[in-house]
Amino acid sequence: MIGLPPSLGRVIGLSGGALDQLMPMHLWIDADGVIVQAGPTLAKMAGRRDLAGQPLFETIELRRPARIATMGALAKLVGQRLGLALVAAPNLPLRGALAVLPGGAGMILDISLGLSFARAVAGFGLTLNDFSPCDQTVELLYLHEANASTMALSRHLTQRLEAARAMAEAEALTDPLTGLANRRAMDAEIARALADPGDAFGLIQIDLDLFKQINDSLGHAAGDAVLARVGHVLRHQLRLGDMAARVGGDEFTALIRDCTDPAELSRIAARLIEAIEAPVIHHGQVCRISASIGIALVNSYPDRPTPEQLTADADAALYAAKRAGRGRYALHSERPVARGTDAPSPRPRRRADDAPPQGFRRRQTDQLPRPD
């Protein structure tokens, strides 16, 4: 066995004052478990001027690695990480380390504040002078406070950004998924166009058919792909001056400018339905939808309609088209409905050129788009 180098075997003597300075939270215990000397900070924490003469186990309670209360058991814990608390302050856990003094002079138990250091400093009324300059507890406290301040700043920033985002969203005029205008923008444009007496335009309300099935069976990503595709269709099928908007989950509106001809609007509607029915491939899955369309024409009114009236009439035409089956369009008409019949004023049709002026033309069932 190799012996210790001479310097490590050497015993050094430290005055009590030196111990206080180096370890202001130490306890020096004699072989019988009575405190010989206590560091000034520890005495302050125990609430006594002098702990000398007090039995160790009436001053502290050892908790880890085991709850022990005899000197014999304590001697076996030399060099281990100890968990303990002052009897006077059982709610503030401390940590400690134990070393045996030579010549039967007892043991030194050095103590430091545990993770509850912030509470301990407040609870024991400790000051900078109570800590050894080598003890990082004060730096921990500094960090603790500094972090609280910077966290508060970060929180404020996040809140402000969130408020700004919400405001930007509220003021946004674009639907991010399709890149079309949103309802806000469309409402504003309809009101603006109606306020201009020279502006004769047509309003097209579009409601997707079978969209819910896509969403339910293939997932929201597929649904989003379909919506984006409809956005693409609207952007490319309409003229530059026209305006298209996504005004709801699967509802779209198009404003067709300089349009006084129902036949022209019907052709546009038919073209849109056909383009929307083109299958979309999403991750290898074929998504098929269709669309129902309701149309209202500003110059079909004897007086200029209000935006609400115009939109409601286009909606009514849309519902009539929907009731008649998928993939149809219908025009709102100011012409009176024949009395005594349930026939709605809109006349949903499949195609502009093949539809008779009254009644619905049924589609072949095999033409119906299916999600699968």
């Binding site: 407040a122 002078n129 406290l141 700043l153 402000r160």
Partner: protein
């Protein structure tokens, strides 16, 4: 530059002279926004531009604006947390002066991107000190002087401070003559935060 520094300048101007002064300053400095955010980064040149504008708007020397900023950082009641963080550095003003050399590390401990000045302390004969600081932008000398004067007060020390000039490499110095380390009670510093 860390927005914390810019935000401090804005806070100082707003709290001391009012929102209208800040509005004038930021317009004159050509800031493309209304307010600095404490947790964002800004180009270094914005801070000196704001100081120049503030000096013009307030009809003061730029150094006087900066010195007042330094004092405000320690004395404003709303910035009590900052004063507390400073007081963690030591038990006496002399302790505090020595700990100034750790200021950069202390700042980085909390905000790794915070570019606090690099400070060295020289002790001359008697109770004379020279604090020298280098920073990313000019003006740290007067800021430090205002701040140190307030900290001397805070510790209850009586000290004379003066600007010690700017070296070739941009280092700015503050000369301190400590007349009485325990001149008054100073302000209290309790390690435990009130309400913590």
């Amino acid at each position: 530059m860390h927005g914390m520094v810019n935000r401090a300048l804005q806070g100082f101007l707003t709290a001391t002279y009012g929102q209208h002064v800040w509005t004038q300053v930021r317009r004159q400095a050509g800031l493309p926004f209304d307010d600095f955010e404490a947790m964002l980064e800004y180009p270094d040149a914005m801070m000196p531009a704001c100081v120049q504008s503030a000096a013009a708007v307030l009809h003061k020397q730029p150094n006087a604006v900066l010195e007042d900023l330094g004092t405000w950082l320690v004395t404003d009641p709303d910035l009590e947390p900052l004063r507390r963080l400073m007081r963690f550095s030591g038990t006496s003003f002399i302790d505090f002066l020595h700990a100034l050399e750790d200021l950069g590390d202390r700042g980085r401990l909390v905000l790794p991107q915070l570019d606090l000045p690099q400070i060295t302390l020289e002790r001359a004969e008697g109770a004379r000190f020279r604090v020298c600081a280098r920073w990313v932008v000019p003006g740290i000398g007067p800021i430090l002087m205002g701040c140190l004067r307030a900290m001397a007060d805070d510790y209850g020390a009586l000290a004379l401070l003066s600007l010690g000039g700017i070296a070739q490499d941009g280092t700015e110095c503050v000369d301190i003559q400590l007349l009485d380390a325990a001149f008054s009670e100073g302000r209290s510093f309790d390690l435990a935060r009130a309400g913590a």
